[in-house]
Amino acid sequence: MRPLGVLLGRELALAWGRGGGPLPALTFYAGMTTLLPLAAGPEPERLAAVATAMAWVALALASLLSLDRLFERDFEDGALDLLVLGEPPLELVCAVKCLAQWLSTGLPLAFAAPVAAIALGASPALAPLILLCALIGGLAFAFVGGLGAALALGSRRGGLLIAVIVLPLFAPPVIFGGGVLDAAGAGLPWTSGLALLAAWTAAAASLSPLAMAAACRNALD
């Protein structure tokens, strides 16, 4: 397992070094949650009604940022060859890259999500649940996003292709997470929604590495 630890350290260092770590995504997130109320109108009641939904959708969009470099930079400079010729299976390599993406982007965004939701008018009592949903959902966004990044390898306008591939796959976690927060805000039972969100995340984290590895091999051929 040691090479995978070394790889995780490198991925995190790369994310922090060149991309500024979570800063672009956090800035984008802050920008979106600032602009949305400006467009939606000044009434606090109207804003509070959609606060969690806005925070949640903005989170999904913010996790799209920096995905385009996830595999592309290693593909362009030959590091992907080296990763393929390493001892750990390529599937695990892909999973580690997505995990690093989550640690460097998804995790800070998850802690920003309750702040954004409360600032928009959500009840502070919802904060722990928003954090939990953002942590679980963020993992799904990272793995599904990694799948899009691997499929877009070597194509021109890869960033656009990633968004087109990934957005439909973002729909289920957005629906489940939004449903959980909506139900919890209305005092209704929300555990089944959370279970569905966790199930989607588990499926994404376990299945997408297989597809990512196949996509990487295909891009190198």
Partner: protein, 250 residues
Amino acid sequence: MAEGTHSVPPGAAYIRARACGADRRLHTPGRLARPCGRRGLFAGWGTRRVISGLEIDDLAIRRGERTLFEGLNFSLAAGEAVALTGRNGAGKTSLLRAVAGLLRPAAGEIRFTGAPDAAEARAREVHLLGHLDGLKGGRTAREELRFQSLWAGGDEASAGEAAARLDLGRLLDLEVRKLSAGQRRRLALARLLAAPRPLWLLDEPLSPLDAVWRVRLGAIMADHVAGGGMILAAVHDPLPIPARALELGA
């Protein structure tokens, strides 16, 4: 396909040395090797087999509509070096990438002697050094040396010894983007020494190096081959060690 005379120098020493445990003896005498045995989650990931040859049967490679070559047969035994020549676009790089498993051949077979599973052999027995060295311009040479060495199966100590042998000491704190092409190539070569693997696939290894380093790389290659290693190198200039010639597209 022109192939020179086939001679098999004794390569058994390398195989014995690497059979279990002492697999670092090749370049770094006297150091403790990592433990043998299963370490990973997956069957076969962790068990150590050593390849003692490469056999290529009736290989054909196509890129798009174009057939680069077909009907290629050759073998490489422990302790041998083969210099792969041919005009630009003859398929030298494609052949190296096919041996490394990165490119699917259109026909034919690539076998590693002593390893029933080619994928497993590639994951631990093969180094590929191509034009693209995988080094990140924004990271320091030390960080990249450490990552590439540890990823390929070396450790901190072997990475340090490789850096010393390639005279990288003064360059380690520089960002990779600030290195010259020759310095960069030496940095990329470090993982070959830090993580001993028997089969080296080298694509134009000499091209960015100066005269002094061509001689020194020759000595490194000679050591590798003398220890029972194998080298398959695509070259335009002659290799600085005795090597069998294989011309593609002749």
